[in-house]
């Protein structure tokens, strides 16, 4: 058992030796090592978060045909640190009439709801915070706390725009939680477990091949859950100025902003874990846990890049369209997909041997394709009827014009 094969266990054993050597009881030493592990993980995540600011700004610049930050340091790499110093030394304003306690708790809860997600992220075969057998539900529960933080921030700011932004955002988050949970059940069905570690272990064939439609719905629901464009109703700069975080300044705004970036990155990671094999990449993960982490981070960045690509390409959708799209299209489709996946998985169970695996994969893939095509046809005929209804000449208005 060397450091390169199982670094966490080696480090924990080493620390345990030191602590008990100081005469510390074993239980206390264990708790202390646990806290240290959490502390180190969060510290590393925050460093990644700082870099995400730079990544986001560079990528958006490219999409908008600009260069982006390029003055401070090589490629503008020092820019995010300057941003943070700016945020830290800014005046901390609490608006008059704000509910102080709630106002101050909201940004912390927002950041927390993202950080606790990493407890169930399997970084490498031996590196996992907790192997919860309900990992999938835990992700949704963390999202619930995020929703709460937004409504707290929006209400306590004592600002109409903030409140309207919070209402819209929460309406979107509560609605899109349902297709998200439904699509998260698809890897659960395929892997036979809700645990994230078991889901990654089960993906000798990436689940995106078995359920491309599931991956797509998950991506759409995740973007809505993140409140990013085209679902960035909470911000709506043109009508709401900035949405629920309008009154926040300095580092409190920074918490919301950093939380949003890390959230997007985290969901890029979950897209990889649930549908793109997590840390697995043609046996590379077996060589060293460090390579496994690199693979996962690489995939998470690709997922993050796709989310950014969508954000900076599409324009905002109206709120009623957004909710209609969710309740009338995405949610029924996600539920139909669960039924189809469950049925096909049971029907083709006999083909899950190495020789006939291709029949199983092809069957799952085609059933997904068929369902997606059928759903699109229904949506198309509905939109055709709706367009005809809207465009139909209205006699009263017509005569008034002539």
């Amino acid at each position: 058992m060397s450091f390169w094969n199982d670094p966490l266990k080696v480090a924990a054993d080493w620390l345990m030796g030191i602590f008990t050597g100081w005469g510390m009881p074993e239980l206390l030493a264990q708790i202390l090592i646990g806290f240290l592990g959490v502390f180190i993980l969060i510290a590393l995540l925050m460093v990644v978060d700082i870099l995400l600011v730079w990544v986001e700004r560079k990528v958006v610049a490219r999409f908008q045909d600009r260069i982006g930050p390029n003055r401070l340091g090589p490629f503008g790499l020092i820019q995010p640190f300057a941003d943070i110093i700016k945020l830290l030394i800014k005046e901390d304003i609490t608006p008059a009439g704000a509910d102080k306690v709630v106002y101050n708790i909201a940004p912390m809860l927002s950041m927390m709801s993202v950080l606790i997600l990493w407890a169930v992220v399997p970084l490498a075969p031996t590196m996992l915070g907790v192997d919860l057998n309900i990992g999938v539900l835990y992700i949704i529960a963390a999202g619930a706390i995020g929703t709460l933080s937004i409504i707290m921030g929006g209400w306590s700011s004592n600002n109409k725009f903030a409140l309207i932004g919070a209402f819209r955002q929460v309406a979107v988050m509560v609605s899109f939680e349902i297709p998200m949970l439904a699509t998260l059940l698809i890897p659960t069905i395929l892997a036979g477990s809700m645990g994230t570690a078991a889901i990654v272990e089960g993906q000798s064939i990436w689940y995106v091949l078995l359920s491309p439609l599931g991956a797509l719905i998950f991506l759409v629901a995740a973007i809505a859950e993140l409140g990013r464009s085209p679902f960035d109703m909470a911000e709506g700069e043109s009508e709401l100025v900035s949405g629920y975080n309008i009154e926040y300044s300095g580092m409190k705004f920074g918490m919301f902003y950093a939380g949003e970036l890390l959230h997007a990155f985290t969901f890029g990671g979950f897209l990889a874990i649930m549908f793109f094999g997590g840390y697995r990449f043609f046996g590379l993960e077996k060589v060293s846990p460090f390579l496994a982490i690199a693979v996962l981070l690489f995939k998470a960045f690709i997922g993050y890049w796709i989310i950014m690509w969508v954000k900076y390409t599409l324009m905002r959708i109206r709120i009623d369209h957004m909710l209609g799209f969710n309740w009338k299209f995405l949610t029924p489709l996600a539920f139909a997909l669960i039924i189809v996946t469950g049925l096909m998985n049971a029907l083709l169970a006999d083909f899950r041997t190495p020789e006939t695996m291709w029949i199983y994969v092809l069957g799952m893939f085609l059933s997904n394709l068929l369902l997606g095509w059928g759903a699109l046809e229904i949506a198309r005929s509905y939109s055709r009827r709706e367009r005809a209804r809207v465009e139909a000449p209205k006699p009263v208005v017509e005569t008034a014009h002539h």
């Binding site: 239980l27 509910d99 709630v102 919860l132 057998n133 309900i134 539900l137 835990y138 949704i140 529960a141 999202g143 619930a144 706390i145 929703t147 709460l148 409504i151 707290m152 209400w155 409140l163 209402f167 929460v170 509560v174 939680e177 809700m194």
Partner: protein
């Protein structure tokens, strides 16, 4: 006292304190937020009992859906968040009597129960509580009938809600 017991006592005190704050605070949104704290305390209690599934479902359903709905309802129906009227109505003595009677009854029942002094059985290795729960809920020998009846009840509630919101004059609920 073991570490588990200390954690339990702290969690129980916080939960009870938050519960008292729900009914005593004047600001309705604060009451809803204290309710969130109470529900979260219950979730932590479940987690302490190794009922992970219940703990997470408690957070998803009660905090993620019901508490948010409460907050929405309060914000959409009230102009002023502060409650001005008296906090008790004239049936307070009946409520107090019921509370005391329930507490006394439970206390009396649990006096004769020998489970208090026992330590919880440890799960055998490889025991998957969630899988057991899922099997119990879907097997005919288990709880499949109550489970389905509960689903029918929820569907009935949904249909009822749609009926109440439905505007028969226009033929649909849209204006």
């Amino acid at each position: 006292m073991t570490a588990d017991q200390i954690v339990f006592i702290i969690v129980a005190l916080v939960t009870l304190g938050a519960g008292v704050m729900v009914v005593t605070t004047r600001n309705l949104v604060h009451a809803a937020l204290w309710l969130v704290a109470t529900l979260f305390g219950v979730a932590v209690t479940y987690a302490l009992l190794h009922a992970n599934f219940l703990a997470v479902v408690q957070v998803v359903v009660y905090i993620g859906a019901i508490a948010i709905l409460f907050i929405f309802a309060v914000m959409l129906t009230r102009k002023d968040m502060r409650d001005q009227g008296p906090q008790m109505n004239r049936n307070w003595w009946l409520g107090a009597l019921l509370a005391v009677a329930t507490f006394g009854g439970l206390f009396f029942l649990l006096q004769g129960w020998n489970g208090m002094s026992k330590t919880a059985a440890v799960y055998p290795s490889g025991f998957d509580a969630v899988a057991e729960l899922g099997n119990a809920l879907t097997s005919p020998a288990g709880y499949v009938l109550p489970f389905e009846v509960a689903s029918v009840l929820l569907v009935a509630a949904l249909v009822g809600a749609v009926y109440v919101a439905f505007n028969p004059r226009n033929g649909d609920s849209r204006k």
